[in-house]
Symmetry: C3
Subunit: 155 residues, 3 copies
């Protein structure tokens, strides 16, 4: 029997990517008390990078938005692992930190990270509303456009 959030994912026709496997010396998430700290997620689909580049240089605002949305899909895939497959156990998206690969004069980080924030609201409703930070970075791992990490409260 599918859970409430699984049903919403189906209604929205949203498919989650596979949760990336743990790297050698760090983990995709750590649970402490009721909080899940999820590692920085990149805009990848089942391990393949989708958005390389720099906002303000060679990527449009919409591409940045889609990159942030894809990071958020990977966050949710990790949280599903952390919750033993049951996304209904997610009580709250607590905080997202959005790192945007930018030139020195880019200033639309919030519009980029909306791609992650709006996905959380679509999927988790009120419980998906979170505190957040959006900043510009001189560079990001592998040259990706966006990286997003997250803190979640899980029952």
């Amino acid at each position: 029997m599918a859970g409430t959030i699984d049903q919403r994912l189906a209604e929205l026709a949203i498919v989650l990517p596979k949760a990336a496997a743990p790297a050698a010396n760090y983990l995709p998430f750590v649970v402490t008390g009721n909080l899940v700290f999820v590692a920085g997620q990149l805009p990848t689909w089942n391990g393949e990078i989708k958005y390389l580049g720099k906002l303000g240089e060679n990527l449009s605002l919409d591409e940045g938005y889609q990159a942030a949305r894809l990071c958020a899909l990977n966050l949710i895939a990790q949280v599903r692992e952390a919750a033993a497959g049951d996304l209904d156990r997610v009580r709250r998206v607590v905080k997202l930190t959005g790192y945007v690969n930018t030139t020195a004069d880019f200033s639309d980080q919030p519009k980029v990270i909306n791609g992650a924030s709006e996905l959380m609201a679509e999927i988790f409703g009120e419980n998906g509303h979170h505190a957040r930070v959006a900043v510009g970075c001189s560079s990001l791992p592998l040259g990706v456009a966006v990286e997003v990490d997250g803190i979640f409260e899980v029952a």
Copy 2:
């Protein structure tokens, strides 16, 4: 009857800005357990941006310090909301993360973020002393000079 912290604010002649209203898909703060995660605050006064620019280029160290102090005033305004108006419920400023809009060779991030740290100490005394991080960013939302987020412990 004014609380202890409200009295200190009055003695210091510090007026807090209005807490910014929630944005569409994210919130200015989320409470989980005893912790309040406050979203990244910009150097605004009642919504009006006060410090645009880049440290190392077109802003002085003192302007950066004032920008960080204004971010911190906004953090406290949000925490007051989170504590239902009663700042005496703030048991501890746990951590501040200060993001400074900088050129590639700026290295005085700590002196900039002192503007936030010293305000917390002025207002909350010992309980205002916190862990912190100060880093340089290639760019920040709307072109502001500084962004600061915070974690607070509330009774």
Copy 3:
């Protein structure tokens, strides 16, 4: 009688630096509940900076790795203080955030921050595996190559 982690440090011939003293208005760590939030640590040895510069410009990947490792040694020195000298009370390294001073086209942040992650695994074993983020910064305090902060769970 040396604790388990102290013995491992001795076996690995790892000596921790002195924990940096608290600065005026912020602290090297704050404990809230079971969590220790440690302030951003720089690549210093007993207060002396060891790795200045920028990845992608004037520092090799190995120098970046060593800088991150030194930041991590300072994190552990602070956690030892937080745990009243007993590193066996560290139940988990929860999360590390690694800030790397980079040019606009550097993309090996993960390999740099592995210097911190691998040290945690060496010293704490399974409990040393953590969630993490690695990003590029336009600049860092004092011109250092790397800054790392951390969240730890302590019994």
